[in-house]
């Protein structure tokens, strides 16, 4: 296993140490818990705070979106494992600016269990907390069972939009409503080419034959819709967009934002090629694109492959999408 690490058990803590040393002006860890990381200027008084969290290994998800116009704090779990309720509670208390806290994270069983407990504990201490779990992966469940879907790259849109809403001074109920609106209007589908390997276990997260790809494989290696032979970009992107546009009931004249997300070891040259195909396909449907994001927005260590996300837009979502944001891993002016 050729990875940059010392003792695999220390992978997360040593990696976090490097992040905090490199970006100490924007991020800090709490003294009482090195896995609780917040904006350097937290708490921001009077603003609804947004906390997030989940397993390590998906940078920029979750930690990469802690910053101005985005989230205020994150709890970091072991690689692909849920963080503890106690860490979430510590983050909650550290970012609470008196206007309440929104827990915004991906829809995964362990995270939900721990963060629901943290919410109860925070509410016992008179902190108002709401929760929204993003469930955008169309491969994991049909649309009428959306609450079972996994949360993947669509989380980026949730952070961006809910973060902007909070930064504009909205109430907790408003920020929650906005996050739920993103959840209802975003759809993502990914394709895996090759797996990543978890440092502590030394095991790859899935296996595929040499020229097979896995449509819908999850960011922890969860099985997808089907395995098939690799095809040309035009056909692959077209197939993925069929799923997405059907899921969102996307029609001509509508406007979307597009996210082409590399899962960790797919180069930008290829991601941009895919984006070109996306533009052509959407253009043929009469769908307009407002803002495109191409790069690594939600990875799975060194997994190869990419995901496409479409966010159906209206005036409100566009306004928040346009707002500036600044974290060590994502900047928009």
């Amino acid at each position: 296993m050729k990875k940059i690490l010392n003792d695999p058990k220390d992978f997360v803590d040593e990696s976090l140490r490097g992040i905090l040393l490199a970006h100490g002006s924007q991020l800090r860890a709490l003294d009482e818990d090195p896995r609780a990381i917040v904006r350097a200027d937290a708490p921001v008084a009077g603003k609804v705070a947004i906390t997030t969290g989940g397993g390590y290994g998906h940078i920029p998800v979750f930690l990469g979106y802690v910053g101005a116009g985005l989230a205020d704090g994150v709890c970091v779990g072991n690689v692909f494992n849920s963080p503890s309720a106690d860490t979430m509670l510590a983050v909650t208390k550290a970012v609470d600016g008196g206007a309440g806290v929104l827990y915004l994270y991906g829809n995964y069983f362990g995270d939900k269990m721990n963060f629901d407990l943290a919410q109860e504990l925070a509410q016992d201490e008179d902190i108002a907390v709401e929760s929204v779990r993003i469930a955008d992966d169309v491969a994991s469940a049909p649309r009428d069972e959306r609450e079972k879907r996994r949360g993947v790259a669509g989380l980026f849109y949730a952070y961006k939009i809910a973060g902007a809403c909070a930064a504009a001074g909205a109430s907790l109920a408003e920020v929650k409503r906005t996050a739920e609106k993103v959840n209802a209007n975003v759809a993502t589908l990914g394709v895996g080419f090759s797996p990543c390997t978890i440092p502590a276990s030394g095991q790859p997260t899935f296996s595929l034959a040499a020229d097979d790809i896995g449509l819908g494989i999850g960011i922890h290696g969860e099985p997808g819709i089907k395995e098939k032979k690799m095809t040309e970009a035009k056909a692959l992107v077209g197939e993925m967009l069929e799923y997405l546009s059907r899921d969102l009931a996307l029609g001509g004249g509508e406007e979307v934002s597009v996210l082409v997300n590399g899962l960790g070891s797919t180069p930008p040259e290829e991601l941009y090629l895919a984006y070109g195909e996306v533009v052509q396909w959407l253009d043929r449907q009469g769908v307009r694109i407002y803002r495109a994001y191409v790069g690594e927005y939600a990875t799975s260590l060194e997994m190869a492959g990419f995901s496409l996300s479409l966010l159906k837009l209206d005036a409100e979502l566009k306004k928040y999408l346009d707002a500036p944001a600044n974290s060590p891993f994502f900047k928009q002016i």
């Binding site: 692909f80 494992n81 849920s82 503890s84 309720a85 069983f109 362990g110 407990l117 502590a200 276990s201």
Partner: protein, 200 residues
Amino acid sequence: MDKLIAALQDFAAASKAEFNRIDGLQGDGDLGITLELMVEALTEAARETTDLKQWLLFSGTKVRKKAPSTMGTLVSFALTAAGRSLPEAAVPDGEAFRQIQSVMIEEIKKRGGADSGDRTILDAFIPAAAAYSEAIENGGTTWEALDKAAAAAWAGAEATKAMAPKTGRARWLGDRALGEIDGGALLCAEIYRVLREIYG
């Protein structure tokens, strides 16, 4: 209490690798580590109190902090709920154990959202608690009840080999999990075995 702690420590050390292996087939391979951390938490709690109710409450909090995996979190909820349900200065007798088992099962069902047949710890725990309860009602000793419970837990764990998972990370495996025993159910069966040996 000391005998229980010592027995659990030996058990955890001896079976850590095997639980990691089984869990690796259907989860993220950390069940053995979770077991070790949970036993550390129970040990620390036992150093702070010998009162059953307090020990359960302290254990619940410590397990939550030390072992935040799904199993650890569910066990921590269950221990805390069991502790809350006992009266002050509760005596560790057959009736108290019956209540502890019943409350733990309800809490795991509530928090985990699973039930019998979903291929989880409950598939061993529920039959074990039922067997224990029946034995106590029929006038059996604690050992006799634990003996029946351990047998029922073992049978329940074996039965998980034929179940496809409905919850947790194993759910994504579906039919690929058939033929393997569920790690959580096996853990439960082994704990009952340890308890039976102590009380024997």
